[in-house]
């Protein structure tokens, strides 16, 4: 005997649930037809232990599509023979046996609607509340679709690829057909993507488009959307509408063949200019798009347009960067030609002045030559930066003794400075890499050490090794750097400048290039520094095998 709905086991009842209604335990044909439960918006029904309908409310009758007379007192499987394996029936069977409440979500295909069913054990049977969650479900699906589409749109800067992905994602859950048309000229479009669950139909549609391109001058459809930047929405496409909008018999025949039931065309707009449109068509599913679907499609289109714009802007910026790199490359090449002549003449005059014993001229020409050398390094650095940016920095792979390279660089720099360069430590392991390029790194570090320690008189170069690597440290006792600069000092074009002392000229290329060269060797370039005390730059290069003195280091068993 059911005593009260409030005694139902399980969680919260809907607030509108009637309280304390006494009911007979069996079907009573004389019971009043209008019942308190009829006030419930949710479907409500009770079954006895034999799965016979004992009570059902008006909303419940609407869900199952039967009259009270057709249902009450009947077994569920007699009324609906095909639900034996359905989730809802399996769940009610479980609740009937175990006497524990369950919640089960179901989809009812004939009505294309979703329900949340709360099934409770009650005296002598079970009671079910069926809440229609179709709107919420569609919204959820749309939001999930939008989220997934956004993920695709942001996955790549290749918009053609991402828009195809989005069209593919739209079918079949959101639409049966999805097409993306992009404008290719003032009055021309190109079909970028068309998606349908059946590849044969895609092929058919593409063929159709080839034979009959879209006529943008037509008063409606795609042309209208692109002209007005406003969506076209056809929630219900009737045969009459097809007849009215088809330009000829053949078009009508095709439209009927597709079996349109609903359609939306939404424009893709960048800065108030249409760049294309997305079309969503419902056909075989019989789904009718709602205003909520249109809002969703418009939201999707605005995100897609943004992705297209990002992609185009990125393409333009890449082009600009490539143009700049080409320019730098050409410019540095052009600059080298006059510098070559200048250098030959200067060195020749220097040689002649030396031969004459003209010390004053020698000194001046020596300075001139050093300035030309600086110019040469700057030009080479410019070229290197553009090469690094374009990924065209080539490195040789030779095995050599890094200590010998460091000694050579120290010797060269020592000849140009009054600082005493002390070299300590040792390393026996060879490194594999580009002698010239690594020489460039050590030259850069030593040149910086001299430049940034104008009042010091020495620089220390330490060479060391461990089983995995060779380390070269260059320490100066100069102006040093604040911590804020340490992380950025290897960035391209970064220049340390401060107001409280004189700034040192430079373009911020040397350390960027050095860092890149060392990184490309699989090593690292780091720095520690203290303002006013000096800096230590540390190059670590991988060096897995010990140097086999004198011969090529080959591992033999």
């Amino acid at each position: 005997m059911i005593r009260s709905l409030t005694e139902l086991r399980g969680d919260a009842l809907p607030p509108s649930a009637p309280q304390g209604t006494e009911r007979a335990p069996h079907f009573d044909p004389s019971a009043p037809i209008l019942d308190a439960i009829d006030l419930l918006a949710d479907g409500y029904y009770e079954m006895d232990e034999e799965f016979r309908y004992r009570r059902i409310n008006a909303a419940g009758l609407q869900i199952v599509g039967k009259s009270r007379e057709e249902i009450l007192g009947k077994r569920v499987l007699d009324v609906f023979p095909d639900v034996a394996e359905a989730a809802i029936h399996l769940a009610t069977t479980r609740v009937m046996e175990r006497r524990e409440a369950e919640i089960v979500e179901t989809y009812y295909p004939p009505h294309q609607r979703w329900y949340t069913n709360r099934i409770y054990p009650v005296d002598g049977g079970i009671a079910v509340f069926s809440q229609d969650i179709t709107e919420q479900k569609l919204l959820e699906q749309n939001l999930a679709f939008l989220a997934e589409a956004s993920k695709i749109l942001s996955s790549s800067l290749d918009y053609e690829h991402t828009l195809r992905g989005v069209a593919q994602l739209a079918v079949p859950h959101f639409a049966d057909w999805c097409a993306v048309d992009m404008m290719t000229g003032p009055n021309a479009t190109d079909l970028l993507a068309i998606a349908h669950i059946d590849p044969a139909k895609i092929h058919w549609a593409e063929e159709l488009r080839r034979q009959e391109p879209v006529d943008l001058d037509q008063p409606g459809g795609l042309g209208h959307v692109l002209r007005t930047c406003r969506s076209a929405f056809y929630p219900e496409i009737t045969d009459a509408l097809l007849i009215a909008t088809s330009k000829d018999e053949r078009a009508l025949e095709i439209a009927r063949q597709i079996g349109f039931s609903s359609a939306m065309i939404v424009p893709l707009i960048i800065r108030e200019t249409p760049i294309g449109a997305m079309s969503f068509v419902s056909a075989e599913s019989g789904r009718h798009f709602t205003p909520a679907d249109l809002r969703m499609a418009e939201e999707l289109a605005s995100r897609a347009a943004l992705a297209v714009e990002n992609s185009r802007l990125y393409g333009e910026s890449q082009q600009a960067v490539a143009l700049r790199d080409d320019f730098i490359s050409a410019a540095s090449h052009e600059l080298k030609t006059p510098v070559t002549s200048l250098k030959i003449y200067t060195e020749m005059l220097l040689r002649q002045a030396d031969q004459r014993g003209d010390d004053k001229s020698s000194r001046h020409l020596g300075t001139m030559n050093a300035q030309i050398e600086r110019l040469t390094v700057l030009i080479s650095d410019l070229l290197d930066v553009s090469k690094i940016e374009a990924g065209r920095l080539e490195l040789r792979q030779e095995m050599f003794d890094p200590r010998r390279l460091v000694e050579e660089v120290v010797e060269t720099i020592q000849a140009t400075t009054t600082h005493c360069i002390e070299m300590t430590g040792h390393a026996d392991r060879p490194v594999v890499g580009d002698w010239e390029r690594l020489g460039q790194v050590f030259t850069n570090l030593l040149t910086n050490a001299v430049k940034y320690s104008p009042r010091a008189d020495r620089i220390v170069v330490r060479v060391g090794e461990d089983p995995e690597s060779v380390t070269v440290e260059v320490e100066d006792f100069g102006i040093g750097m604040d911590a804020e600069h340490l992380e950025k000092v290897f960035d391209r074009f970064y220049r340390v400048s401060s107001t409280d002392e004189k700034t040192f000229p430079g373009l911020g290329m040397g350390l960027f290039i050095s860092h890149e060269i060392v990184r490309r060797h699989g090593g690292s370039l780091g720095v520690t520094s203290e303002k006013g005390r000096g800096s230590v730059f540390r190059v670590v290069l991988p060096a897995p095998a010990p140097l086999d003195t004198g011969t090529a280091p080959e591992v033999t068993p």
Partner: protein, 129 residues
Amino acid sequence: MTVAQPSILVVDDDPGILDALRFLLEDTGYLVLTNENGDDVEALRDENGGLPDLIVLNVLLSGKDGRTICRALKSHASTRHIPIVMISAHPDAERSVKEVGADAFVAKPFAIDDLLATIAGLLAARRDR
């Protein structure tokens, strides 16, 4: 061939470089011939009193590629023996000039001592042969 004053043919499309190299090489004691655009260099023949003892050849010439000239000279029996020093403002050109048979590569801009040492080395090697 005059051992005392070896002749060097310089091919470069930049007149400034040609003048500077002429100044440098003549001052060093070489006999210098110049050619601005590489015309006829591929078909260098012993018509006007001998072939040069060495060629300094720029990689990029207006309208011509110095490497094509180098390959042609190195594939012809009568000019194969002439040492060729290729020069370029593109330091990466070194690999490609070695592939066409150049004997040496010097990147622009260079220290004159580097170029002179390279030239002297090649001439000495040829003399010794």
